[in-house]
Amino acid sequence: MDEMGDYTATEMMIVASARLLAGERVCFVGVGPPNIACNLAKRTVSPELELIYEAGVFGAVPARLPLSIGDPTLVTGSLQVTNMFELFSYFLAGGLVDVAFLGASQIDRFGNINTTVIGDYAKPKVRLPGSGGACEIAINAKKVFVIMPQSKRSFVEKIDFVTSPGHLGGDRPAHWPGSGPSDVVTGLGTYTFDPQTGEMTLATLHPGVTLDEVVANTGWEPKVADGLTETPAPTGEELRLVREELDPEGAYTR
């Protein structure tokens, strides 16, 4: 699936996401690729990273890769389990989260996210899961990394429903607790946001991906950084960690 040289598109996304965590301290994390990225970062660029799982666990040491956002392996041997009220009130709204990962079914050029419906809310074409904690994460985490697959259906001019606010129309209020999405990682490249206009800006292309491919998979005329570069390919050590330690069964990465 999606082979790119000797690694998959998902492996590239996970590795690129992990590298973004260099220098970060506290990360709010769900399961799936963000979980692998965080645990990769702890073994590489960010050994002091502290993880808070949305299920209410701090300092987890998972012995296996969880399928669900809640799993007993996140609990056993962790430092603290907390109830949902305290998790959202004290950890998240309390301002302890430096960065959080969000996924998206649709995203627009300002990083506003839809995970609620495709089509009309009252009569949806596709009913998606909804917010979960995403809406309050998007508002309260100091910054947000988005990991998602990229296509014309997901990178759209206008999202069908704003589940989680990004930079709005470029005018996200400065007094909000968090500053919104800072980075987006897709199967094609990585993006940052223009600090003036709040517009998503292509920063790197993954190895083998062309700018034309990005344009063909973006629902608007994408802004491209002046110094567009290539995403450094995953190193052998990064791939080894992902394949042998973090996702040995390849549930997410193959």
């Binding site: 209410g56 809640g70 799993d71 009130s89 009913r127 917010s131 606010p165």
Partner: protein
């Protein structure tokens, strides 16, 4: 104290009524499928089902026709995909419409806190510039009385019945939970009636040996049901693992209405009780879900006389 121990059949028959607002809570952990199945078996109707994450249990209940309405914050099969029976009703009114009332996780949690505290609203720092308040008029903007700080308010949620599954409880309903604790305490205190279901019925002295571990006091409990393995395919920390295979398999079952009906017939209507379900699942499956041992370091409360 008087024993509140009852069979699941009797507890549901007595405490869950047509038209009730029902919360079977538990954040992936300790989701009481046994209670959901019994509600299906007794063919309750017109329920309003509340859960942060409806999970497969509400897919089963909604597909079985017990519910008129769903109140939730994240609607999916965790780690797998969609709840197809729920989606059929929302997207195509198939076989009938399903009313929904949607929040975020933080909103749902705080609705239970408000319900438990008899607060008429709870203020939270969320929903700014989201379309959720537009989709759900119960989420309203509110100002701080101390300045121009703007927040949103959510209304209290007071279920008629909350079901809490605990690892251990005594006959009065004092219940102890470890591992993920979700919002069970809040959902229980918010409810008019509470059913505690437990893996193990223990002597009161076990509860009294560690009062800080008690999540639900017997004071608010109406019935105690002893139902070992009552959460499958969800899990009970230290008792049995999450049956991820079931969740993965459910995707195909839930997607196909005929397979869905056949599953219900075989695993719910065709069985008398959860004990039958446990037996039918088979010891081999249960053995694969058996965790190893990792015991807590005990603490000394001391004696004082």
């Amino acid at each position: 104290m008087t024993s509140k121990v009852a069979s699941m059949r009797d507890a549901v028959a007595e405490l869950v009524r047509d038209g009730d607002t029902v919360a079977i809570e538990g954040f992936t952990h300790l989701i009481c499928f046994a209670a959901g199945h019994e509600i299906i078996r007794q063919r309750r109707r017109e329920l309003t089902l509340c859960r942060m994450t409806p999970d497969v249990i509400y897919d089963q209940m909604v597909g079985a026709g017990v519910a008129r309405k769903l109140v939730f914050s994240w609607l999916g099969n965790p780690g797998v995909g969609s709840l197809h029976a729920v989606r059929r009703r929302i997207e195509r009114a198939d076989p009938e419409p399903l009313e929904i009332e949607e929040y975020s996780h933080f909103g749902m949690v705080c609705r239970y806190v408000a319900g438990a505290s008899r607060l008429p609203f709870f203020p939270i720092r969320s929903y700014f510039e989201s379309d959720l308040p537009g989709a759900n008029p119960n989420i309203v903007p509110i100002e701080s009385p101390y300045g121009d700080d703007a927040l949103y308010a959510v209304p209290p949620l007071r279920p008629d019945v909350t079901v809490v599954h605990a690892q251990r409880a005594d006959a009065s309903g004092n219940a102890q939970i470890w591992g993920l604790v979700g919002c069970q305490k809040e959902a229980a205190f918010a409810a008019e009636r509470v059913i505690v279901v437990c893996e193990e019925l223990v002597d009161e002295s076990v509860i009294r040996s560690d009062p800080n571990r008690t999540v639900v006091p017997g004071l608010i409990v109406d019935a105690v049901v002893v139902e070992p393995r009552g959460c499958h395919p969800s899990f009970a920390q230290g008792y049995y693992d999450r049956d991820n295979r079931f969740y993965l398999d459910w995707d195909a079952i839930g997607r196909d209405p005929e397979a869905f009906d056949a599953w219900l017939k075989e695993w719910v209507y065709g069985l008398e009780s959860h004990a039958d379900y446990v037996e039918k699942l088979g010891e081999q499956r249960w053995a694969a879900l058996q965790p190893g041992e990792a015991w807590s370091e005990p603490v000394n409360y001391g004696t004082y006389d």
